[in-house]
């Protein structure tokens, strides 16, 4: 195959492929939402999507701009109150995968969406935790997707908003009633997984046309590569068509009043 596609499209398609029928996915806004709906519209029509606004098993035709666009409620099986969403559905153990984005991520997959700099005198104030701290610990496992850059991939996050594996990689050891945590990170360059022992993120697959140097240059720590480094399969024509249609529909919908 010889299709033209962008690195963003490669990221979305790869992230989408992480989801399967039978999964119940708590979806973060932005890239995770794009990937989750692409999955639903392609190989995983029965994947169950949940948004923190209370919409259970929703099937939006366009991507929501916010976490609670009307489209999410109208296409949902039902919509529950937000306390119920966090108590019964997330904390109650009904979510198999939490799908998150982030501003900053470190080598142990800890996420920072709180601030850059010092808490008392922030250089940049970010939106905050939102649903992520408890999605990351109460979901069965966590997928993370974001663009690869040195600013985003840092050795140690400025602030652990959301637990990956802790500042030493042992943050989940001996903690009862906690999920597996991040099992894969999908970027526009590669796929990473935590080392089974140390929990440090390791590149397991490079996207087509991406070199090790590209990843090294975009990562703020000495990134390691798996011994059996794979090449991520290219997007199919069908995936690209559906992704592009979804984004075009979404753009038209958001441009209107």
């Amino acid at each position: 195959m010889n299709l033209e596609y962008t690195s963003s499209e490669m990221m979305s398609v790869t992230a989408a492929r992480a989801l399967e029928n039978g999964m119940t996915c708590f979806v973060g806004i932005g890239l995770p939402s794009e990937a989750a709906n692409l999955a639903r519209l392609t190989h995983a029509p029965d994947v169950v999507l949940i948004y923190e606004s209370g919409t259970l098993q929703t099937k939006p035709d366009t991507l929501p701009l916010s976490i609670g666009d009307g489209e999410l409620c109208e296409s949902a099986l039902t919509t529950v109150a937000v306390p119920e969403m966090f108590r019964y559905w997330l904390q109650g153990g009904k979510v198999s995968v939490g799908f998150l984005g982030t501003a900053q991520i470190d080598r142990f997959a800890n996420l920072n969406t709180t601030l850059i700099g010092d808490y008392k005198a922030p250089k940049v104030r970010l939106p905050g935790g939102g649903g992520a701290p408890e999605i990351a610990t109460n979901a069965g496992e966590v997928f993370i997707t974001l663009k690869h850059s040195k600013r985003a991939f840092v050795k140690d996050v400025d602030f652990v908003t959301t637990l990956g594996f802790g500042r030493d990689g042992k943050g989940r050891d001996n903690v009862p009633n906690i999920g597996k945590g991040p099992t894969r990170v999908i970027t526009d360059l590669c796929v990473m997984k935590p080392d089974p022992e140390t929990k440090e993120l390791v590149v397991v697959s490079l996207h087509p046309g991406v070199t090790r140097e590209d990843v090294i240059d975009a990562t703020g720590w000495e990134i390691r590569f798996a011994e059996q480094l794979e090449s991520t399969p290219e997007p199919s024509e069908n995936e690209l068509t559906i992704l592009r249609e979804l984004k075009a529909r979404t753009e038209r919908a958001h441009a209107g009043e």
Binding site: I29, G30, E52, S53, G54, T55, P64, L65, S66, I67, G68, D69, G70, L72, C73, E74, T79, V80, A81, V82, P83, M85, F86, R87, L90, Q91, N110, T114, Y119, P122, V124, R125, L126, P127, G128, G129, G130, G131, A132, P133, E134, T137, N138, F159, V160, T161, T162, L163, G166, G171, R172, V175, P176, N177, I178, A253, H254, A255, G256, E257
Partner: protein, 277 residues
């Protein structure tokens, strides 16, 4: 029983300077008309509680109403930062504000606990997060049955909660439908409550288990047609995603913001400034 008041009178009576105020609406049914009325009445030193501050609190913070914000996610959803919130936190304009931040799970449980008349919420949260190191209102307790360590936060019990809903009947009973967020909890947790509605009807048309808040659990009902714009009201009108995107440019600059506030909030006779946005 809820009293039917104008939005002006409801805000004048129940929102006092220095009060703790929760204006809720999880992306849906955000009480913008009421927020603008609070700005017009120049309420000051408010402690503003809201899971998702959104641009309604950006406007109130930029207008100088807030001294403290308690929240769990402060952004322009799907667009980016709340520039007025950031300007206040980072540069102290128009005044320094204090922030107290939680996760969504914590605040959702805290609203639930407030509605349930409890002093605290207990939940499985904040594991491995550094938020407890910057928020002294996050504690941990031990389950007396299993020994498990669980998070505890104080319940939310505002002086006044303000929400927007689809409609009220002539007795002041209110129907909330669609993404209902923590609105019912906000009303039940508060000492006083104001509900703005799109319309007053003879019959709510509610199904047996609909989210209906009885009149006797509400202080005041005020009509505010299109009172949620640029947010939306399920069954009435859609979200102005365009305005949410435009807000980014308006809010980036202090002068542009001040001009917007003059044109769309202060120099507007009626309550529904949001509608013109």
């Amino acid at each position: 029983m809820a009293e039917f008041l104008s939005l002006h009178d409801a805000v004048a009576r129940y929102v006092e300077d220095g009060a703790t105020v929760a204006m809720e609406g999880f992306t849906h049914l955000i009480p913008f008309a009421a927020g603008h009325e609070v700005i017009r009445q120049k309420k000051r030193d408010l402690t503003l509680i809201r899971m998702t501050p959104d641009i309604i609190y950006d406007q109130m913070i930029g207008a100088g109403c807030a001294k403290k914000v308690i929240f769990s996610w402060g952004g322009n959803p799907g667009v980016g930062s709340l520039h007025r919130l950031r300007d206040a936190v980072e540069k102290g304009w128009p005044r320094q504000i204090e922030i107290l931040e939680h996760s969504h799970a914590a605040m959702a449980c805290a609203f639930e606990a407030g509605a349930a008349g409890l002093p605290l919420a207990v939940f499985r949260g904040y594991i491995g997060s550094e938020l407890p190191s910057v928020n002294d209102q996050i504690k941990f307790i031990e389950c007396p049955f299993t020994g498990e360590r669980l998070a505890a936060v104080p319940s939310v019990r505002p002086d006044v909660s303000i929400i927007h809903a689809q409609r009220a009947d002539r007795q002041g009973n209110v129907l909330v439908e669609g993404i209902v967020g923590v609105q019912k909890e906000a009303v039940l947790a508060a000492k006083h409550s104001i509900v703005t509605v799109e319309e007053i009807v003879d019959d709510l048309g509610a199904t047996p288990n609909a989210c209906v808040i009885p009149s006797w659990a509400i202080s005041a009902v005020a009509v505010a047609e299109k009172g949620a714009l640029p947010s939306y009201t399920h069954g009435y009108y859609g979200r102005s995603n365009r305005f949410y995107k435009e807000w980014d440019a308006i809010a980036r600059d202090r002068d542009t913001f001040t001009q917007w506030l003059d044109d769309n909030v202060f120099n507007v006779a009626q309550h529904h400034a949001g509608e013109k946005a």
